[in-house]
Each structure stands twice: as structure tokens, then as C-alpha cells.
Point group: C2
Chain length 223, copies 2
């Protein structure tokens, strides 16, 4: 664990560069222009299970956000908090059906996809289920393809998608999609079969808020 | 698939009795006193993958809610929509840090627990990973214990829990917790090790809104 430079009352983000849930929160903070301090916990060294961090987040998962004397967990809950704390630019549309659509797209990734392809699941498949690397890879690609197909169909059957998943500005749907797409490509999944996803991800990654949050572009203290 | 009695503009809930994400939405609708029509899709017969239902929800997962000409998916997104549509009684506290806490508890279940113990995951473990029933059971109990331990610690380290996960009235945290606890007990997990969870679940199940949503208590058309 490594503490970045301390700022007075800045929010403190417990994160790891290659954790895609951490990546989501970084994007949201960047879109809002909020400054924050990063405390990096190296997942590859299981630092998220250190007793100190467990006292911050008993689940031992990343990210967590410290703000105003409180510790917030779960990336989507953190992002809705950030959105309420600094309303502009909004990360959810105003209208209720539209909010539900955007939340559902984000949850398709955060609840139905990401939890199945995490490091802790791969470890369990190896250590307790005796699966080799090839089987673990097949497992990950299975869930990724299933979800991306559903996500693509959601986009294709809605009149709401535009430059982004919902209209002309990024929402929590894009914030959830992009890190998962980056992980998927690293695992060898080609986004060519998903042209709408592909176009949106490409568009997002042209924005500084997404670029600066990308694990490849983090400074030393944040990675 | 079976259509219940049709009501004019009533909301239509695509659900299955023993789907715990459907259970969540039923609780929310009951707490709000909203009437709805149920379209039941039998998960044990894979009816959620019928082409008709796939045209409603391309992900082929339950639940989905039809309202106002739109189809909403993802239980927590649906519940936030219901909460906005009929604000009383509120399913989230007003204050932003409290909202984040309640959403995080709900997501601890909906994102980090439930997706790992679903029927589709058990099927994959059997069919593609060659796991026997004992190994599938071990897998489920592993993730359930891990999450319940974290949930219990969240409750124990907060001043906010009361009769319910957050204060004196049910929120989305209780709505997510109760169906998962019911599933866990069906799988043979005893809640004795989690006294705060146990007390809250017991208290919730004394309320008609939770009782009436319980898979054991559904009428024929809803089960």
C-alpha cells in the first residue's frame, strides 16, 4: 500500500489501476472535475486483504471512497454519491424511465458480468475447482460474450443511444461499459462482433476523463 | 409462460417465484402498495429464454417490469424507478451518505453475491467445468459466507442499523438481503453465525410486504 500526496479534505480513493471497478470511479471523478487522492492496493499482491484496509472496507474489495468522515463502498453507489455531490455534468438523465435504462445498462455490467470474471473467481476456479488456465479463459469469455451480446441488443433496440449509450453525453452506462470492454480486449475478446459497443467505447476513450482513468495512463502513485 | 389476469394499465412484472431478483421487486411493489400483473416464466424449464421473452428482455434474465410502454430490467434499477414513481414510503434514506450506504449494502448482495450463486452459474460449473453437486454446493456456500460475513461486519460497525439495515424502516438494503438469506437457508447455510443479519431478516419476514413476496406464499399465477 502506498499513500499518495496528502491533500487537506480531498476525497481519498482506495483503488488499484487494473481493478475495473476502480477504473469506473476514476472516470466519474474525472468527468466531474473532482480532485482526489489515491491509495493504491496491489491486487496482484492481495494488498486489499491487509488488516488495515479491511478496517476501511470489511469486504476487502476495491474501490472504496473516503469522504466527509465516511467510507463508501461499491462503485455504482459511490458514483451515484459523486453525482449527487456535484450535479454537473450529470451522469444520469433526468427522466425516470431514462434513469432506469441507464442504471440497468450499468448493472448489466456491474452485476451480471464483472463479478463472474474477477480475479477472486478465477482463483477459486483454479484452486477449488481444479480448472486450468484454458478453462478459466473459456469461463471468462463465455460470460463476457453473453453480456456483450445482450448489451449490444439493448443498444440496437433502443432509440436512446447516440454518441454514448444514452444520448450525447456520458452516463454511468458508459462508465461501466468502458472498463469492462478494456478488460475484455485484454483477455483476447474482439469487440468487432459488437459494432455499437465498439463505436461507443472508442468515442469514450477519446475523452480525457476516460483516458486519464485508463490503467495504462496512471501516474506512479495511482497505479 | 402463463399470463395472470389482465388489468388496464397495471404494471406487468416478468418474474419467477424462486428467482431472488424477482423476489426483490415483488417486495418493493408490495411496500409501495402498487398493484401489478405477473407474467411467470419457469426458470427450471428455461422459459426465460423463449423467443417471446427475449424480445422483451434480450438478456433472457428475470425480472423485467413493463410500465408506461417501456421495459425495465435489472432489479435494483427497477426498484429505484418504483421508488421515484411512488415516493412513499421511501426505500432509500434522504441524506446522500446514507443513500450511498444503503445502495452499497444492496449491491454487496446484487453484484458481489447473487450473480455467483445463480442457476446459470451452477449449470456452467457442471456442464463446462465438470463439477459435481458437492463442488457446486461448496462453491455457493463459499461466496455466501464471504458476503454474509462482510455484510454482518458492515452492520456491526455502523451506528445506522436499527430494526432494519438502515434505521427503522425497510430500504433497498433489506430488499436485497432477505431474498438472498432465504436462498442461503434453502442451500443449508445457517444464519446463526450472522446474528445481526438474522435478526433483521426475521423482522422483515414479519411484514406482509415481505411475506406476500416470498416464493412459498405466492398465488398460482405468480409462482
Amino acid at each position: 500500500m502506498r499513500d499518495a500526496n496528502r491533500l487537506g479534505n480531498a476525497m481519498k480513493l482506495h483503488a488499484y489501476g487494473r481493478s475495473s471497478a476502480s477504473f469506473r470511479v476514476r472516470i466519474a471523478l474525472n468527468l466531474k472535475g473532482l480532485s482526489y487522492e489515491t491509495v493504491s492496493h496491489d491486487l496482484t499482491r492481495d494488498e486489499q486483504r491487509d488488516s488495515h484496509y479491511l478496517s476501511v472496507n470489511p469486504q476487502g474489495l476495491l474501490p472504496a471512497l473516503e469522504d466527509d468522515g465516511a467510507v463508501l463502498t461499491q462503485s455504482l453507489a459511490i458514483i451515484e454519491y459523486i453525482d449527487a455531490k456535484k450535479p454537473e455534468p450529470p451522469l444520469l438523465p433526468r427522466e425516470q424511465l431514462a434513469r432506469a435504462r441507464v442504471r440497468a445498462l450499468a448493472q448489466l455490467i456491474a452485476a451480471d458480468t464483472h463479478p463472474l470474471v474477477t480475479k477472486r473467481v478465477a482463483q477459486r476456479l483454479r484452486d477449488d475447482c481444479g480448472q486450468d488456465e484454458q478453462a478459466v479463459q473459456r469461463w471468462r469469455l463465455h460470460w463476457l460474450h453473453l453480456s456483450f451480446r445482450a448489451f449490444e441488443t439493448h443498444l440496437a433496440t433502443s432509440a436512446e443511444d447516440g454518441r454514448f449509450c444514452h444520448g450525447g453525453s456520458p452516463t454511468i452506462a458508459d462508465i461501466a461499459l468502458v472498463p469492462q470492454a478494456v478488460v475484455a480486449e485484454q483477455l483476447g475478446l474482439s469487440l468487432n462482433a459488437y459494432p455499437l459497443i465498439s463505436r461507443i467505447v472508442e468515442g469514450c476513450l477519446q475523452l480525457p476523463a476516460f483516458q486519464d482513468a485508463h490503467p495504462d495512463n496512471l501516474g506512479r502513485g495511482e497505479a
